[in-house]
Symmetry: C2
């Protein structure tokens, strides 16, 4: 018997209030126990995954899912090892909750503390990769948020097994509240999740453009993520040809389907080695397109649109017009041009002489990643644990009242203590 | 001839890209010139305000607007002085833009800097008070955001005059972009603003519950604000009767229509002086209600719902169920109970022995306030200039590519430099 969604959401809300105050020790103990349990039960997970894979084989034959989706679905020994290590890594990260962001004496014996705290209930909607369920559950636990997960139907058996292991492990951890990690399975559940702004505080979609767009268009709950990654590299007049070639090739070919792969190359009309650059890209099996159907296509493949521009300003304007605010790079020797580019391009990542593929939470040193956000509020760019937190203000007084300050009997002195 | 809204929004977007990079000096010069211009042209503003007031008198007679709306509409010498001083105060605040939030060496010659930057285009919808237009325009300028303002129709003449002065002053500031501060007037404009997620990044409604709810329900753009302020005070078993009485009276009567005024009093059943407390509140002309129609009514008047609870847990649970996540207080001598209350009540402000009326950006020492947010993402509680910022990541390399790290040729060392 399936629970109805509102009940699940209410339980998540209750769980979020209980986990908000849980000690770092209990959270880390829970995470390490989950990693141990994955280790111990990995054959069970593999066999659930095999069931998904055999069902997915038919879907590949029917053309219902692509071969690359099938590959992402597959858990092998390497992915399992990474998945388990991922949980332990999150246990080892600093607790993002309970940090004192400032301590301020407003007046004698009236102390204001800004403290980081969890957001509440997260709704996560993701596609095929089953290791996401372990990663997101771990991030939710570490950041003291409750989470409701909806995975792709292709990985249903694997997801169920992983969640079963997580929850039976959490049951053994003294003081760990129930219902912190819950899972739903149907499209109807997703439709209800998107409407559930009473209980769910943040939706994080992890998946393709269509999924993310659908979610953004159908909910009033804040959504953290990116619908597309239209990244640019602008090769300035003064660029070094070897550097330009090396960086563009990396940004396009190192992992073409990633959201931080470059899609459009802009070349300054006075860059003397343009022909050499384009030839070197073709040598690396990049298909160049000089007249694309549109300037905001995410190819996700070794295809690169390119265009000559008259000036740095035109490059900046092109990027701010057609880009997705993800990650954009200038290749130049001119530090002033680089500064102008980095200040005026309105993207989460603005790079000088480095591949757009660096836009990633692990590469930035966050230790774990929730996803990459192109939002302009809350969290932008690669989002680590900090993006799953907000803050509250604690004020401790000794019977202080505002009337004394309104009447001028007392004055604030606003002294920062930390 | 009125411009159409999309044109205004496009102009705002262009302006936001230009003001993003403006120096602190130019922004502060602009603000001080605006303050001077208000000073010089205050009679013009007063006469525009008189026009609004005389039109509003009829509306008061017809019952279309309340006497208190009429009073808020009125600009007198005192309000004018505060309005002008407010602009100068914002000029004197630290620039929230361009702050280095961290500087991290990912590897040799690969430096990542997280820098604060503006959000982009703000849409502000506010009711009668005409000083809001000056305050919000100043905050937008200081934080390098463009802004589209929609004020109440009652203050149309005053708003027009104030904006005319702002924009003719900005025209005299060398290098200051056009269209940073724009104004719209009709309901149709608001409807279009709410749909305009291509160009507008954040909506801030300042006004009553109905306005805020309407906006939250009709836009996909992030909304910063609060629909209601259902604040609680819980008088614990160990509370001091004098302190309890003093704090509750301040929180209820110092400004009853404020969002941070208390609406519900919870009293521990073992608090021995409950009768004395209730009697003292009645002496202060507070109307006590023991059986309210609902536990989430914002009275906005000297009316206070109250209830006895069996335990701290019941108090916390009541607040998390019926509260609005604004500001809630415990009166107690028991520090453990206070800590539990402050950790478990899920509100922007959690207080011990201090009036809920302290929830305010000026009292918190922010120097200026955009509003108070009950959101769980981006900004919570009283929001100062920081709430109008986000950040971008600047990465400077020397031709660095990801492939070197994927292949293990190079390793990240993630060393924080600042």
């Amino acid at each position: 018997m399936e629970q109805n969604f509102i009940e699940i959401a209410k339980n998540a809300k209750q769980a979020s209030l209980k986990i908000a105050d849980l000690s770092t020790e209990i959270k880390n103990l829970a995470l390490n126990k989950i990693a141990d349990a994955f280790e111990k039960n990995k054959e069970e997970i593999f066999s659930a995954n095999k069931k998904d894979l055999s069902e997915a084989e038919d879907l590949v034959k029917n053309g219902e899912i692509t071969k690359s989706t099938f590959n992402r679905l597959k858990l092998d020994e390497n992915k399992m090892r990474d998945m388990i290590q991922g949980v332990r890594d999150i246990a080892n990260l600093e607790d993002p909750i309970g940090k004192k962001l400032f301590v301020r004496e407003l007046d004698k014996d009236l102390i204001l503390t800004k403290v980081s705290c969890p957001i509440g209930v997260l709704g996560i909607i993701f596609e095929a990769r089953p290791d996401v369920i372990s990663q997101i559950s771990s991030l939710a636990i570490k950041s003291s948020n409750a989470v409701i997960l909806k995975g792709g139907k292709e990985s249903k058996n694997t997801n169920k097994k992983i969640l079963e292991i997580i929850n039976s492990t959490l049951d053994t951890v003294d003081g760990f509240p129930k219902n912190v990690v819950q899972q739903v399975f149907t499209r109807e559940d997703v439709a209800q999740m998107l409407k559930c702004d009473n209980y769910i505080n943040l939706i994080i979609p992890r998946g393709g453009n269509k999924l993310v767009k659908y979610i953004k268009e159908n909910t009033k709950i804040p959504v953290l993520g990116h619908a597309s990654g239209i990244c640019h590299i602008f090769v300035d007049e003064s660029a070094d040809i070897d550097m330009a070639s090396k960086v563009v090739i990396d940004a396009k070919t190192q992992y073409p389907s990633a959201c931080n792969a470059v899609e459009t190359l802009l070349i300054h009309k006075n860059f003397k080695k343009a022909d050499d650059l384009l030839a070197s890209l073709q040598l690396s099996e990049i298909k160049l397109v000089s007249n694309p159907e549109a300037w905001d296509i995410e190819y996700g493949d070794k295809i690169l649109a390119y265009k000559f521009v008259d000036s740095l300003d035109e490059a900046i304007n092109h990027i701010n017009t057609y880009g997705s605010g993800h990650t954009d790079c200038i290749i130049t020797k001119d530090i002033k041009n680089a500064e102008k580019f980095m200040n005026n391009v309105d993207s989460a990542g603005v790079y000088m002489n480095a591949s757009t593929r660096f836009a990633d939470g692990f590469r930035y040193g966050f230790g774990a990643e929730v996803g990459i956000s192109t939002n302009k509020t809350h969290a932008r760019g690669p989002v680590g644990l900090e993006g799953l937190t907000i803050y509250k203000y604690k004020l401790v007084g000794d019977g202080h009242i505002v009337d004394d300050y309104a009447k001028g009997v007392k004055q604030f002195h606003h002294k920062d203590l930390a």
